[in-house]
Each structure stands twice: as structure tokens, then as C-alpha cells.
Amino acid sequence: MLIASALSALLALALLGVLAGGEMWRHRVVYFCCGLASLVLLAGGLKHLGTTPGTGPEVVLPIGLPWMQAHFRLDNLSALFMVVVNLSTAAASFYGIGYCSHLPEPRRVTPFFPLFLFGMNAVLIADDAFMFLVSWEFMSLASWLLVLADHKKPENRSAAMIYLMMATFGTFCLLTCFGLLAGAEGGYSFPAMRKATLDSTAGFLVVALALLGAGSKAGLVPLHAWLPLAHPAAPSHVSALMSGVMTKVALYGLIRILFDLHGQVPWGWGPAIMVIGGVTAVLGVLYAVLQDDLKTLLAYSTVENIGVVMIGLGLAIAFKGSGENMLAALALVAGLYHIVNHSIFKTLLFLSAGAVITATGHRDLGRLGGLLKRMPWTGAATLVGAAAIAALPPLNGFVSEWLIFQSLFKGPSLPHWAMKFGVPVVGAMLALAAALAAACFVRAFGIAFLGRPRSREAAEAHQLPYSMRLPMAALAALCIVLGAMPVTVTDALSGVVFPLTGVHFAVSSDLGWPWLSPVSSTRGSYSGTVLVMVGLGLFAVTILLVHGFGTTRVRRADAWDCGHPEDIPESQYTGQSFAQPLRRVFCSSLFGARETVRMPEPGDMAPASLKVRLIDPIWVYLYLGIGRVVDFIADRVNRMQFLTVRRYLLMMFATLVFMLLVVAVRQQK
């Protein structure tokens, strides 16, 4: 009931957003109320997450098509994603209170923001295919309108266009997928779909279509092309939601179909999904490490993290398909944990990018620098987020990667050769992605927040209002808490995976509370809690020892200039120069990275230049290829506009005869 009223409140807020007009305080009220509604939904999700697993209460509303009613249900999986979604939306909404006045056209954002929140929440509680798809489209279109908020820039318009195409494609795939799931009887409610039996062809198609449909929304390679264009184009608090949360809603759809509606996905999909995940993770982070635009970098990093989650989901499918339900539960818990974590730190980092853009007006790393001193709060929160996304202990990102590694290491115990040989390769990819993510965020944080300012605006950056800083601080605190108390999280998740795998997963089986030890205590264990305590202890001892034995005197001086007294900030390493070794090592053959250096002749005062050219192989070979084929066909079809009447008649006649033939052949069978 509470949830229903919060959702209707969101719809009402959208209306208010339209009426807000030019008065800034009205926008602020809308955002504040959005935040309250999100908190209510968050509480509802948390409350349900604590209850025993089972099918939740069903609500039937007499809306939609006349012969179909709208079914809603909140079960544990929905409740978990409701928590994930509304944690971030609450932070983004409160952030919006301060941020909306910095937007060029707040009127283009405020009405659609509550709609976007409504769409995402409605997807989660939909209990029939019709409502699911309607809400899904709601979410897509609302976010599309938000991408178009700054529609004066041509690149935003083209990003929105590509996004719209991909969203349509995704919905089409999901529509077909649900059609197959409904089976011959056409039961569009989820309970009916669970009962329907699928033959092997239909089962195969369902998985493939779900991967295409939900995967295109989540940003799986090679369907990721729209994501780094569209996510950064939206205002930052919306980017945070698109990257941090909307991709999770897509993963919710995938999990719902693969683990719940589709009874038994064969194990062979497991290695396939893992390889897709591994490639997505490595390519995503390689793109990310080369980006100069802060928000594009974060968007590519989302692609990477989706790949990491997919590795966990693929493992869970392989284990479940082979009857290893306990290990399937472990892999699924790992994947879900990473979903929770990524939604938190990605939202945090996008909000921080928004803060940087607000304070300096720049999103190019080459114009930032030294912001930690000007914006200590934002800087500290970003540092926590960067360390968490780089999977450093004791923060939350590490725990989920640790769990994924633990379940990966059990992969070769399956009797399939594809797993035995595939798992080490995927493991290497995951490890590579994790290490590159650390490099990527050392670069992003180091260039933007450390060093000396690279532009006047960065040197004069100003502190932001509390409404923008507090949500970031809250999210940073969550990164620490979820990392330091992993067992609490896995216990909550075990109730979610029970209906999906059929086993109760107790991750802290035999060592007791603070020890995270999947499978068994001798298998390998981790304790964020103990690490934090001992780490802090050793930190304190270090300080005591150093200050006890030595002096605490500090002298401020100029930095060592190596004999070049001309002290200009341009002499610092830039984002491009930081990325150069990685670019040479990983990208020269993968992306065809080429550098051209133009050195003026001695005596010529023209500046030297270094140009880097990258080719995105997926864009060039896949999308442009498809584009060319479409162009070619369109060209051919175009000629049909200039036929004579007789030929048109001929075509209609031929079509008619063909259809009749088809009917005749079908009847013969």
C-alpha cells in the first residue's frame, strides 16, 4: 500500500514538475518530494527483504487492456532491486535539489525525472509481461527525454537517436521473448509463464532474446555502443541513475527471465555468457582508461562492471544447469552483491562528476586538477568511490569481486571441458579488468583531483551546497559499511537467491559471524570486519612508531623541478600521457591505436602536437557494417517508389499468390 502510494506520488510529482515553470523553488520541492518517495520505496523494499522468501502479495489493478488486468507483485528479488534502485534515486533526488539550479534548462528535466523513477520501480514489481513491457518502455522513453534535456548540442541529439534505436531494438527482443515464454496458451502473467513448458528451440530463443533485449539496455558488448554516448549526455544526476540503476533494472529483467520464468537454462549458456561478460569487462575498462571526458569514462566503466556481473550470472547458470545448486547460489550472490555495490559507487562517482562540472564547467580531464584542495568533501567521497570501484579492500567492490573469484575458482570442478578451459581464460580476463580498473581510477582521480590546476576555472573551483555534498557522503559511507560488514549483506542476499536456486545459502558457514567463507572454512575466507580493525590498528601503530622514534616537523617547499625552474602546470602528466603505456600495451592491436607526432622545425614557434587515433573495432565492423547493409536495402527499396501502376499490381498479385502458397503448404502438413 505504501509502495503504491509512493508510486502514485511520483506520477503526481511529474505533473507538478510540468507546472514548476521558471520558479526554482518549485523544482527544488519536486526533487525533495522525489527523494522522500524514494525513501519510502526503499523502506518498503528493505522491509520485504527481511521477510521469509516466498511469493509476495499480489495486487491486481483493473487497468490496461480490457481483457487483461495489471498484475503487480513484490517478491524477494523485486524487493532487492527496489532497494538497489531507490537507494540511488534517493541520493540523486536530494542531490537534484541543489543541482537543478545549475542546469541550463531545468524545465526539461524536472517533469521527466519522477516519471523515470516511476518507470524503473514499476518494472520491478510488474507481474505480467504486459505491465513489464509497458513500464520498461516508460523507463526508456523517460530516460530518452532526459538524454535530450540539453538538446542544443548536436552530439546529444545523435546520442539520443542512437539510444532510441537501441531501446526499440531491446524492447522488440523482449517482446518476442515474452511471446515465446507465454507458450501456446498465451498466458501473459508471470505465474503462467513459470508453468509453461518450453521445447528446446523455444528455450534457446528465449535465452538469446533475453540476452539481446536486456543486454542491450545493460550495455553488453557488442550492444554497448549507445551507452557511452547517451549516459553522459543526460544531466549528471540522471546519468548517475542511468548508469548506476537503469542498467541494474535491465539485469533484473535478465535474472527474472533466466532464473525464474525460464525453468531450466541449459548449462552450455553459462560459459557463453561468461565469455561475453569477460569480453565486456575487458573492452569496457580499456575504453574507459583511454577517455578524457569524465562522464564518458564513467559510462565505459559501467560497461566493465556489467561484464563482471555477467561473469557471475554465467557461472550461476553453468552451476545450476549442472545441478550444483549451492555453487549456483554462491555465484548468484556474488553477482547480486556486485549489482548492489556498483549501483552505489557508480551513482556516487557520477554525482561527483556532476559536482566537478558544476564547480569548474569542465568535464575534460585535461582542464581539471588540484580539485581536492578546493572541494575537500567531494574529493574525499570520490576517493572512496574510486577505491571501491577499483576493488580495493576493505571497501565493498572488493568483496563482490572476491566472491566472484571464489566461485570462478570452483568452475573447473564441473565435468564440462568448456568450463575447464573457459574458466581460467575468463578468470584471466576478470583479473585483467580488475587491475585495469584500478589504473583507470588512479588516472581519473589523480588527474582531476590531485596535482595542480590545469585551467583557471579549476583553480577557482568553489565548494558546493550541502544538498549536493550530503548524498555523496552518504553513498561513500555505504561503500565502507557494505565492505566492512559483508556477511550481513550476503545473509540478506541468501533469501533472494533461495527461490531462484532452491538452496539456502549460508556464506558464513562454519567460522562464525565476521568471516566470509563460502563452501567451507578451509576453502578460503575473508573478513572485511577483521581487516578493517587490524588495518586501523597497524595504521595507528605505524603512526605511533614513526612519531615516537622520529620527528614530526614538516617544512613546506617547492617541488623538485629537476633543474627546470619554469614551473607551469602544463608540465604535469595529463590524462593522455598517463594512459600512453596502457594504450601502447593493450590498444595498439586491439583498437589500432596510432600516434602521430608533429614536431615543428627548430626555430619554428608553432606548438608541437600529438594526435592519437583509435578505431573502435565493434563500431566500425559491426554497426557501420549493419548501417551499410541497411543503406543498401533502403536504396533498393527506394526504387520501388517509381514503378508503374501495372508493376505495383504485379507485386501485390505476387504477394497474394505467395501467401496462398504458404497457407497451402501449411495445410498439407
Partner: protein, 222 residues
């Protein structure tokens, strides 16, 4: 059983050293380093043969070991060394594929040979399977080296490495007659001599040993 277990494990470890030397061959960028690595691989091969002679109690394998040590670890590398200096061949290895990719392809080939060996020898003991997988990987790595190197000298080394793999397989399987080994060894020597003459001829004619350059002289390209 315990003692023979350990002796088999040692045999595999030596076999793995031969394989590692095969990877080293792919990794080296200097011609002389390639030759040294090849000599090292031959020494490891000789050790493998001698160890097999010891555990199988087959004295003829000692002959194999000596042949490997003398011909492949000494004469062939020295001869190639001399040739390289004599002909003034460029000392760096020209690769047709970057070293990283070559090594990844190498790991792929090892995985492939393991996959191939496993079902074929499903009934054999794990001990034979391991040696067979090792030997086959060495053969495939030799082939890979021949494909991905442009310089004729490194191609010859690739060929010899391939042949090392064959001998490794032969010594690990029981009952391979000595005659076969000797004939292989001599065929290699003959091949070596032929290659030597061939190098001189190519060089006189075209002034290079880079096979890429030779391609332009093929009849159908003109």
C-alpha cells in the same frame, strides 16, 4: 610405486622445461638469444632422454641423450651462430605477429594439444598423457615459430624445435628403437647442412634472408 611416481613427475618437470624453452623461443627478439635458448632446449631434451633411460632402464636412450647434447646443443647452435656472423644477417628477429599475440596463440595451442590428447589416451595412465601433451605442445610451438618468424634462420630454429618435440615424444614412449632416433638425428644434420648451403645461395642471389622479401620474386607475383 612411490619412487617411480616421483621419477615420472621429474620426467614431466624436465618435459615442461623443454616446453618453457619453446615459449622462450617465441619470446626472444635477438637472433643470438634465440640460438642460446635453442641450445638450452636441447640440453633439457638431453636431460629428459637421459632421465628416461634411467627410469625405463633402456640404455639406448643414453645414446639419444648424447646425440641431442652433441648435435643439437652444440654443433647446430654453433654452426648457426657462425653462419649468422659469416653472412652478416640482421641480428634482430623480425616477427610477422606481435610477441604478445604469438605467446597467446602458443597458450591456445597448448590447450588444444591437451584437449586432443585427453580423449585419445583416455585409457592410458595420466603419466603418458602428460608427456604426450607436453611433446605435442612443443611440436605445435615449433610450427608456430616457423609461421610467425620472417627470418630464415629463426625458421630453421623453429623446425629444429619442432623436431625436439618429436624426440621428446619418442623417448617418453617405451620401446622406440634406437635406429629411428639416430636416423632422425642424422636427417636433422643433413637438413642443417642443406639449409646452410641454401642460405648461402639465397643470400648470393637476393642479398637478404628475409623471406618476406623473397616473396616478391615468386613467379605468380612478379
Amino acid at each position: 610405486m612411490a619412487i617411480s611416481q616421483i621419477s615420472y613427475e621429474l620426467a614431466h618437470l624436465i618435459g615442461a622445461t623443454v616446453l618453457m624453452a619453446g615459449f622462450q623461443l617465441l619470446y626472444q627478439r635477438r637472433l643470438f638469444a634465440v640460438l642460446n635458448t635453442f641450445a638450452f632446449q636441447a640440453v633439457a631434451l638431453a636431460a629428459a632422454a637421459a632421465w628416461q633411460a634411467h627410469i625405463q632402464d633402456a640404455p639406448h636412450l643414453y645414446v639419444t641423450a648424447v646425440i641431442a647434447l652433441v648435435f643439437k646443443a652444440m654443433i647446430v647452435p654453433f654452426a648457426l651462430h657462425w653462419l649468422v656472423e659469416k653472412l652478416g644477417i640482421q641480428r634482430s628477429v623480425e616477427t610477422a605477429m606481435s610477441i604478445g599475440w604469438t605467446m597467446m596463440a602458443g597458450v591456445g595451442l597448448v590447450a588444444l594439444s591437451i584437449l586432443l590428447v585427453l580423449p585419445v589416451t583416455a585409457n592410458a595412465a595420466a603419466l603418458t598423457r602428460e608427456s604426450l601433451a607436453l611433446a605435442m605442445s612443443v611440436v605445435l610451438l615449433g610450427l608456430l615459430m616457423m609461421i610467425t618468424r620472417r627470418n630464415a634462420v629463426s625458421q630453421v630454429v623453429g623446425f629444429m624445435a619442432l623436431e625436439n618435440g618429436l624426440i621428446l615424444a619418442a623417448v617418453s614412449a617405451k620401446g622406440m628403437p634406437l635406429v629411428v632416433e639416430i636416423s632422425i638425428a642424422f636427417s636433422v644434420l643433413v637438413a642443417m647442412t642443406l639449409f646452410g648451403i641454401f642460405f648461402f645461395r639465397i643470400r648470393e642471389r637476393f642479398d637478404t634472408l628475409d623471406l618476406h622479401d623473397l616473396e616478391t620474386w615468386r613467379g605468380d607475383r612478379q
